[in-house]
């Protein structure tokens, strides 16, 4: 099992992500700098971590999405390699065109940093198979730009195709239809604003996020 964490200038959850991946797989991930044009051979799983890549200049995730490494991430995603983007990683995935929609400034304009309630809207995906359908879980968020936007037709399509992975159960950021995480059409790319890697060990006081890594990476090992 070879995992990789993409590191952008301004990423700040890359090491938390690495700890969560190592806990789930027993092997430390490759940390891949954004200037690389290729991923390590045989990469089975790619994570885009949270943070403030390029200082959030222009738009959150905009510059990171045009980094050299993203061509390799895009090619891997097309081959079916699972890609998980958390927080800034979710913003990067939408800016890169790997997920639909956009993440805008929180409706309340505040940076929201707290543990929030989610429901598992689809537990049939690779990433969410460790949860029960409709299960209520709690995972921390920490973002300023988590207000998910897509036009009504796109939202209808996402819901109709079961591509909403998680929804907020409380008012967090004004996201359309309370969407907290979405899947791509093939189901191998997940973007989510909440941080599962911050709910991944007993010291976090909550293991709801660890279940995402355990299920996803366990399924890949087979």
């Amino acid at each position: 099992m070879k995992t990789a964490v993409i590191v952008f200038p301004g990423s700040n959850c890359d090491r938390d992500m690495a700890v969560a991946l190592e806990a789930a797989t027993g092997t430390a991930p490759a940390m891949v700098w954004h200037r690389e044009s290729a991923l390590p051979g045989g990469t089975d799983f790619i994570a885009l971590p949270g943070g403030f890549s390029y200082g959030d200049y222009l738009r959150s995730g905009a510059m990171a999405a045009r980094s050299p490494v993203m061509d390799a991430v895009r090619a891997a995603a097309k081959r079916g390699v699972p890609v998980l983007g958390v927080c800034n990683g979710f913003q990067v995935l939408t800016e890169a065109g790997l997920l639909p929609g956009a993440l805008m400034r929180n409706a309340g304009l505040n940076f929201v940093c707290r543990r929030v309630g989610l429901t598992v809207a689809n537990n049939q995906s690779l990433f969410t198979s460790g949860y029960a359908a409709g299960e209520a879980i709690r995972v921390p968020v920490a973002h300023h730009d988590g207000n998910y936007f897509a036009d009504a037709a796109t939202l209808d399509r996402l819901e109709g195709e079961g591509r909403v992975a998680f929804r907020y159960t409380e008012s967090v950021n004004g996201s359309a239809r309370d969407i907290a995480g979405v899947l791509n059409n093939a189901g191998n790319v997940l973007g989510m604003m909440p941080h599962p890697e911050r709910a991944a060990e007993p010291a976090h006081g909550n293991l709801d996020g660890a279940r995402l890594f355990a299920a996803t990476l366990g399924a890949l090992v087979g």
Partner: protein
């Protein structure tokens, strides 16, 4: 050559920043402001050889997110 690029939110996209600016203007006592939409102004200094198609590609690929934003290129 100086090129001006105006990036604005599409109609129908909520603008929390514009709303906050609107509230602040009202708080300052300015009446009669119906709505505020905030956008971004970018000035590019480019060689004369840069074509309109190049400028359009710059906007579409990076300067604007066309999921939520429109852009307008002005050659002064």
């Amino acid at each position: 050559m100086k090129i001006h690029v105006y990036v604005t939110l599409k109609a129908g996209v909520l603008d929390p920043q514009g709303k906050a600016i609107h509230h602040a203007l009202e708080g300052l006592g300015f009446a009669g402001v119906n709505d505020v939409r905030a956008g971004r102004f970018i000035e590019l200094d480019v060689a004369d050889s840069v074509s309109d198609a190049d400028l359009d590609a710059m906007c579409a690929k990076l300067l604007a997110n066309t999921v939520i934003e429109n852009y307008r290129i002005v050659r002064p």
